[in-house]
């Protein structure tokens, strides 16, 4: 191609030294792939690294200062505590990706749980009761979405109002002071029961194979070397095998009648949900458009994307997932009361998403982040309770008290939000 211009050699900037798509296609060495990771971190793209570090630090500290923390019983208990918050965090991730927020997600979970419990009490078959609960949760999400996307009211205001409205609905459904018992064994079993140890191993091995396959596929596309895939898959394999073997140990109390072994049902459930949602976000046109709207709404609009529909649907999916989280909440205590989904549920969910590395400013984040952040936020109260009373400097302090737990969870969230804000400053 000739140009009519006199062309002196272009003096490219330093960051343009590598050219010609030099990094495309060519398979990279282990060192350069590792270097890529480091440069991403330097550029402020921390992703989920802080959450992973936090998990390691917290487990080490609590493990050293409590005898019961690193037991099979507490491990299973801790995962069951985390599950509902993780699912609600994934719900909130949907709207966080758009740069919106849903402060009412907690009570959406509560209302959905109440609907499920009431329908079961009215002797509806379980699938119908679940469907009804899901439809109600989606309707609540759509209502929020319509106010935000169609009327253009800031989501903060709409969901703040809905926080009260949904709490009111929950109160009316449950009747103040009362609670709805759940008798259905399947719903009770989501969080309460465990898969047999044999099947737990099968699921664990499927998990390792699946993880390896996903890593390999991604590596083929991006040129990450196989050695990197092997290291990652190996690490995941060790982690999964340890988790399964711990869960397969008998964790019943010493004087219990029956043994208690195996993976709680809620673990594969959460993993299936995160797989489906990640798939939707990364591999479908809808997911791409959702990320685009979160990144630059005007660009998305000019590209012909129906921004209103994307926003509406994101709030609807947020409602649906919050509803699923609500059934996990109810399953854990086998009942629904006016505080289901209340208290700190919502704040922990938003905190989990943000601590995991999902940005509050939209466009950045992954569903897996919700799991990592959720684990961090579940570790804090779990560990503090077990550490219990301490006397630092002769001053008696119960680390297991709600006051200390709230302060620690709040500080963790604040730290994560600061990291988010700082990394955003750094990249722009």
């Amino acid at each position: 191609m000739t140009t009519t211009l006199p062309t002196p050699a272009a003096s490219d900037g330093p960051n343009e030294a590598l050219s010609d798509f030099a990094l495309d296609g060519a398979s990279k060495s282990f060192g350069s792939a590792f270097g890529d990771m480091k440069s991403r971190l330097r550029n402020g793209e921390l992703g989920s690294l802080p959450a992973v570090l936090a998990i390691i630090v917290l487990v080490t500290i609590f493990g050293l200062s409590s005898d019961t923390f690193l037991t099979a019983l507490n491990f299973a208990n801790f995962l069951e505590q985390a599950a509902a918050v993780i699912v609600i965090a994934m719900a909130v991730t949907f709207v966080l990706l758009l740069g919106e927020i849903d402060l009412a997600a907690g009570y959406t979970a509560g209302v959905a749980a109440a609907v499920l419990a009431l329908r079961l009490q009215a002797d509806w078959p379980l699938p119908l009761a679940i469907l009804m609960s899901a439809l109600v949760a989606m309707a609540l999400g759509l209502w929020t979405g319509a106010l935000v996307a169609k009327l253009g009211i800031p989501s903060f205001v709409v969901t703040l109002a809905n926080f009260l409205v949904f709490q009111g609905i929950l109160l009316i459904l449950v009747k103040s002071g009362g609670s709805i018992r759940i008798e259905n064994d399947i719903v009770k079993g989501i969080v309460g029961s465990s898969i047999s140890p044999g099947l737990s191993w099968v699921i664990g091995i499927l998990g390792i194979v699946g993880f390896g396959a996903l890593q390999f596929r991604q590596a083929e596309r991006t040129g990450v070397p196989l050695s990197m895939v092997a290291v990652k898959t190996g690490a995941a394999a060790v982690l999964i095998l340890v988790v399964v073997s711990v869960l397969n140990r008998n964790r019943a109390f010493a004087n219990a009648v029956a043994e208690q072994r195996g993976m709680p049902y809620v673990i594969p459930l959460v993993l299936v949900i995160v797989l489906i949602l990640s798939f939707v976000l990364n591999r479908t046109r809808y997911g791409r458009h959702l990320m685009a709207v979160g990144g630059n709404q005007e660009a998305a609009r000019r590209a012909g994307i129906n921004v209103v529909r994307i926003r509406l649907s994101a709030f609807m999916f947020c409602g649906l997932l919050a509803g699923i989280g609500g059934s996990f909440l109810a399953s854990r205590v086998n009942s629904v009361d006016p505080n289901t989904g209340g208290n700190d549920t919502l704040l922990l969910a938003v905190g989990a998403a943000v601590i995991g590395g999902t940005s509050l400013f939209g466009g950045q984040g992954r569903m897996v982040n919700a799991i990592l952040g959720g684990l961090v936020l579940a570790l804090i109260p779990n560990g503090l309770t077990l550490v219990g009373k301490r006397e630092p400097f002769g001053w008696e302090l119960d680390l297991g008290s709600s006051g200390v737990k709230f302060i620690c969870a709040g500080l963790a969230l604040m730290l994560a939000a600061s990291v988010d804000a700082l990394s955003r400053k750094r990249t722009s």
Binding site: M1, D24, T284, M291, G295, Q364
Partner: protein, 262 residues
């Protein structure tokens, strides 16, 4: 290099906003394989003209021809269907997405109902290579990690990816440094060399002289001159056209009758 018949032509365009007559019988032509620079002072009517051509404003009077056929423009979608793309100053890129994702935004390729990444990635690389863009490390780089010039390049590539035939560029070099400006101007030139009709809106006379084959100068809502220029054109000639509507024997006869537009 200049073809004889315009690919896009606007004839006798008038546009008023209330009592303010912004465009007076404006004629504007874009030839294939040619860079036409649209120059003029602030308020001369450049943006209004572009918005009339791209269907954002309906003109009061005026005819539009595409490939010699008279066409009716009722909105931006019609214009896109003809293969006319506009690269606005704000670029409209999603910084959180990578180059491939931005290039195909809203027009993703699917395979079995899922995003066909390998195919889009290859097409993105081919398009950038055909534009001789050799400054990006990877088409999987996020736009947030690109320099201003690279972003402009991606925005332009996005406009030409769809076999477009006319590309309108609004101040593409306004926010760029020297080296990056050169990259973008080279790219503008290559677009024309590939046979596209290119319209460059610019305030930078050096840029205009460097890449243009024709200059359309607007003065107070009228076309003061629509002339071929060479690389040897004097900067003062263009500045005079912009500031007084005529230069030597080129331009509006007198400027006094045009003051009504103010």
């Amino acid at each position: 290099m200049v073809a004889d018949s315009p690919i896009l032509e606007a004839k006798g365009v008038n546009k008023s906003f209330g009592p303010v007559h912004v465009l007076h019988d404006v004629d504007f032509r874009v030839y294939p394989g040619t860079v036409t620079s649209l120059i003029g002072d602030n308020g001369a009517g450049k943006t209004t003209l572009i918005k009339c051509i791209t269907g954002i404003y309906p003109p009061d009077t005026g005819e539009f021809f595409f490939d010699g056929n008279r066409v009716h423009i009722s909105g931006p979608k019609d214009v896109a269907a003809f293969g006319i793309e506009v690269v606005y100053q704000d670029l409209a890129l999603c910084e959180n997405l990578d180059i491939v994702q931005n290039l195909f935004l809203g027009r993703e390729r699917l395979k079995y109902g899922l995003l066909d990444e390998p195919s889009m990635e290859q097409a993105a690389r081919d398009t950038l290579a055909s534009l001789s863009v050799r400054t990006v490390k990877s088409v999987r780089q996020k736009v947030s990690s690109l320099s201003g010039g690279q972003r402009q390049t991606v925005a332009i590539a996005k406009a030409v990816l769809w076999n477009s035939r006319v590309v309108l560029l609004d101040e593409p070099t306004a926010a760029l440094g020297v080296a990056q400006t050169k990259q973008v101007l080279d790219l503008v030139r290559r677009l024309a060399d590939q046979g596209l009709g290119v319209v460059l809106i610019s305030h930078n006379m050096n840029d205009v002289i460097q890449v243009s084959d024709r200059v359309c100068a607007m003065y107070l809502g009228r076309v003061a001159a629509d002339v071929p220029i060479t690389r040897e054109a004097r900067r003062e000639f263009l500045v005079e056209l912009i500031t007084s509507g005529h230069s030597g024997d080129v331009g509006l006869a007198t400027s006094s009758d045009s003051t009504e537009a103010i």
